[in-house]
Amino acid sequence: MQQTLENFLRALRATNVRVSPAEAIDAHFTVDSVGYSDRTLLKDSLCIALAKSEEEVERFDECFEIFFTRDEFRDREEPSGGDGLSNAESEMLGEQPLAELLLGGSETEMAQAMEQAANDAGVANIRFSTQRGLFTRRILDRMGLRDLERLIASLNRQEGDQVAVEMAERLEEGRSYIFEEVRQYIDRQFDLYARNAGEELREEFLAKTNLSAVERRDFDRMHRIVRRMAKKLATRYARRRKHTKRGVLDVRRTLRKSIPHDGIPFETVWKQTKIERPRIVVIVDVSQSVAAAARFLLLFLYSLHEVIATLRAFAFSSHLIEVSDILKERNVEEAIPEVLEKIGFRSTDYGQALEDFEDLHMDALDRHTTVIILGDGRSNDTDPRMDLMRQIHDRSKSVIWLNPEPEPFWGTGDSEMHRYRNFCQVAKTCRTIQDLERIIDDVMKTYFRA
C-alpha cells in the first residue's frame, strides 16, 4: 500500500501540487489514522493535509479521481470455450499464466495482473509521449507476451489439429484485446504523471519567444507566466520597505519610550529609513509593430501593484490617451483588446503623442517618477519633438526606453531611436518576457536600494 501512496504523491507533483518530503510524511500519518476503507474520508483528509490553496484543491480532486479509479476493462465477449478449460486444453497451454488469463480469467483478474506488471515496469516514471510505446511493450513483456506468442506460433504449426487451431485463434483475439487495454492504460498513466512535463517545456520555450511571434492560443499561458514572474519580483521587493539603520539611535523616540519605565531606557529605538514605492508612468506604442509587446508590459506592471505606489498608463499610435482607468476597472487581459481597438493599429506619430502627453500629464512628473516608454521610435518622418522628450527627462527620476527592435536596427530608416536615447537613462531591446523581467527588476532596484 505504501507504494500506492508514493505513486499518488508523484502524480500529484506532476499536476503541480507541491508535495514536500515533510508533507509526504504527513500524508503517510494521515493514511495511517484514517485507513483506505472509506474513500471520501481518505480523499478529504489527504486533501486537507496536502493541498494548500483553492486551485490546489481543485487539482487534487481531479488527480485523486483519476488515480483512485480502478481501470475498468472493456467487456469482451465470453471466450467461446465456456467458463473453465478442459483438461486437454490446459495441457496444451502448459504453464502460461497470460494465456490462461486470456482464455478463462475475469476482467478484474486481468486488470490486477496488468497493474502488477505496470508497477514492476515502473510506469510512474513516464515523462514523454514518445515513451508510451516503450512502456506498453514493457508491461506486456512482464505479463508474458513473448511466451504467449511462442505458444500461438506452435499451436498454429499443428495444422491438422482442429482444437489447436481454434485455440490459437482465440489466443490471437485475446492478445489484440489485451494489447489495446494496455495501450489505453498507458495513455491514462501518461495523463496522470506527465501532463505537466510538456507544459513546463512549453513555458520555458515561450519565455524566450519573440513577443510579436507569440500566437493567440498561447496568450493564456503567457499571462500565467507574466503573473508568476511579477509575483516573484513583488515578493522580493515587498519585504524591504522598512530598513533599519542599525547602530543609529533614534534619541527622541527612545526617550519617549522610556517614560513608563521611570526614564530608564529599557527599549531602544533605532533610526529607520522608509523606502518609498516606485511611481511609474508608462507610455506604450500600440501601433501594429509593437502592440504585442505592449500587452505584456502592461500586464506585467499591473501585476506588480503591490509594490508600486502609483501607476499611470498612456497608450498611443497617432494620438495619445490615458488608459489607466480602463485597465484598473477591468481585468488587464480583457482591457487590453479594448485599448487596442480604441486607438491601436494606426500609423505612429511620436511628436503628436508627446504633445498630447504634455497636455495631459507633464505637470504630474516629478523626481520620484520613473517613465517607461515602449516603442520602436519610428515616427513616419514626422517631427519627433525632441524638446518635449528633454522635458520629460528633466522632470522625472529616470526615463527607460524599451524597444522591441534589436539594437542594430535603431536609427535606420525613419527610426529616431538614436536621438531619443540621448534622453533616456536606459534604452534596451525588449524582445521576450525574459528581457521584460530583467528590465523591470532593474527599475525596482533603483528604488529599493537601501
Binding site: 489514522s33 471520501t40 478529504d44 486533501c47 486537507i48 494548500k52 483553492e54 513608563p260
Partner: protein, 318 residues
C-alpha cells in the same frame, strides 16, 4: 466552560468524523464533511488548520463552536499590521522588575554586610537565583497563554493575513513544535498541544513555510441545502416556507456579478431581520426595504434593485 475536561472525553468526542459533525451540529455549527475531516486530521496529526474563505462563511465561528463543544478555553488573537511578539507572546512586567531591583538594592546591604572582602560578597551574590528575567516577571500574551493551559485549549489566530511577514515567520516555531523560545529563559513547551485555527481572508498570499506547517481548509459558500440547515439551526424560530424562500433568494443573488457576495452571516442576519418584522413570506417591498442587510455596497444594491421583483417571484415559487 472552564471545567476540567478529561482527555478521555476529548478523545471520545474526536473519535470519528461523524461524531465531530454531530457534536458541532449540536452546538449550532453545521459542518460539512470536509470541515469535520479537517478537525479529525488536525487532532490526529497535531497540526494547526489554516482556514480560508471569503468573509462571513464561518471561519471564526468554527473555532468558537469547536471550543464550546469540546469545553476547552478559547484563546483568541486578532492579527493586525504591526502586531509583534511583545503583544502576541510575552512581555516583561517592567514595573515589577523595577520594584524588584529596588528591593534587591535595599536587602543587598543587609545580606552582604557581614561578608569579608569583595570576593566573598561576589560569591554570595552569585549564590542568589537570578530572578530578574524569570517566569515570575513574565506577562503571558495569548500565544504563551495557550501553550500553558494545563488541559489544552483552542487557539484562534484570527486574520493572520493581516499581520506582517516577520510575524508570520515568528509563528512558525509555535505552529510546528508547539513551543516558544524566550532568549532570557529558554524554551517553553506546550503542556498539551492546543488545537490551533488560523483564519485568512486572502488579503495576501501566506508564505509557503507557514502553509506547509498547516492543514489547509477552504470553506466555500454553502449550497442551498446546507444553507437551509444552517439557517434552521441558527434561527430556529423562522418558518420553513420563509426559510426556503430566503435561502433561494440569496443563492440566486450569488450568481450575480456583485462586489461582495452575501455570505452565510448575511443570510442569518437577514433571517433575523425578517423574523423581527414578522414576515411570513417574501414580497418585493419587504425585500427592497431590507436589501441593505444582505448587500454592503451602494453599487451592489443599485445593481440588484432592478431585478428584485423577478428574483422575489422566483423565490416565492421555491
Amino acid at each position: 466552560m472552564n471545567d476540567i475536561v478529561s482527555q478521555d472525553t476529548l478523545d471520545k468526542k474526536l473519535a470519528s468524523v461523524e461524531s465531530i459533525m454531530d457534536g458541532l451540529g449540536s452546538n449550532g455549527y453545521i459542518a460539512s464533511r470536509r470541515i469535520a475531516t479537517a478537525i479529525f486530521v488536525a487532532e490526529n496529526l497535531s497540526k494547526p488548520i489554516l482556514v480560508e474563505g471569503s468573509a462571513g462563511v464561518g471561519k471564526t465561528e468554527l473555532a468558537l463552536s469547536t471550543a464550546q463543544w469540546l469545553g476547552l478555553p478559547l484563546i483568541r488573537m486578532q492579527c493586525y499590521e504591526g502586531l509583534d511578539e511583545s503583544k502576541a507572546l510575552y512581555e516583561w512586567k517592567y514595573g515589577k522588575q523595577l520594584l524588584y531591583t529596588q528591593i534587591l538594592k535595599d536587602k543587598m546591604g543587609d545580606t552582604l554586610s557581614d561578608s569579608k572582602g569583595l570576593d566573598e560578597a561576589m560569591q554570595r551574590l552569585h549564590g542568589f537565583g537570578d530572578l530578574f528575567f524569570s517566569e515570575q516577571f513574565l506577562e503571558p500574551r495569548p500565544l504563551l497563554k495557550a501553550l500553558r493551559q494545563k488541559h489544552g485549549a483552542v487557539l484562534l489566530i484570527d486574520e493572520v493575513d493581516k499581520s506582517d511577514e516577520e510575524f508570520e515567520a515568528f509563528l512558525l516555531e509555535i505552529l510546528s513544535a508547539f513551543q516558544v523560545s524566550i532568549p532570557e529563559i529558554g524554551t517553553i513547551q506546550a503542556t498539551v498541544p492546543p488545537l490551533v485555527f488560523l483564519t485568512s481572508n486572502n488579503m495576501r498570499e501566506m508564505g509557503d513555510a507557514l502553509k506547509r506547517r498547516c492543514l489547509h481548509l477552504f470553506i466555500p459558500l454553502p449550497d442551498a441545502k446546507l444553507e437551509q440547515k444552517i439557517v434552521a439551526s441558527r434561527v430556529p424560530e423562522i418558518e420553513e416556507r420563509l426559510r426556503r424562500q430566503l435561502v433561494t433568494f440569496v443563492q440566486m443573488l450569488r450568481e450575480d456579478d456583485l462586489k461582495k457576495l452575501p455570505s452565510i452571516s448575511e443570510t442569518i442576519d437577514w433571517a433575523r431581520v425578517l423574523l423581527l418584522l414578522h414576515a411570513d413570506s417574501l414580497n418585493t417591498a419587504l425585500v427592497r426595504d431590507t436589501l441593505n442587510v444582505l448587500l454592503k455596497f451602494e453599487q451592489d444594491i443599485a445593481a440588484v434593485e432592478r431585478s428584485v421583483p423577478e428574483l422575489t417571484r422566483k423565490a416565492q415559487q421555491a
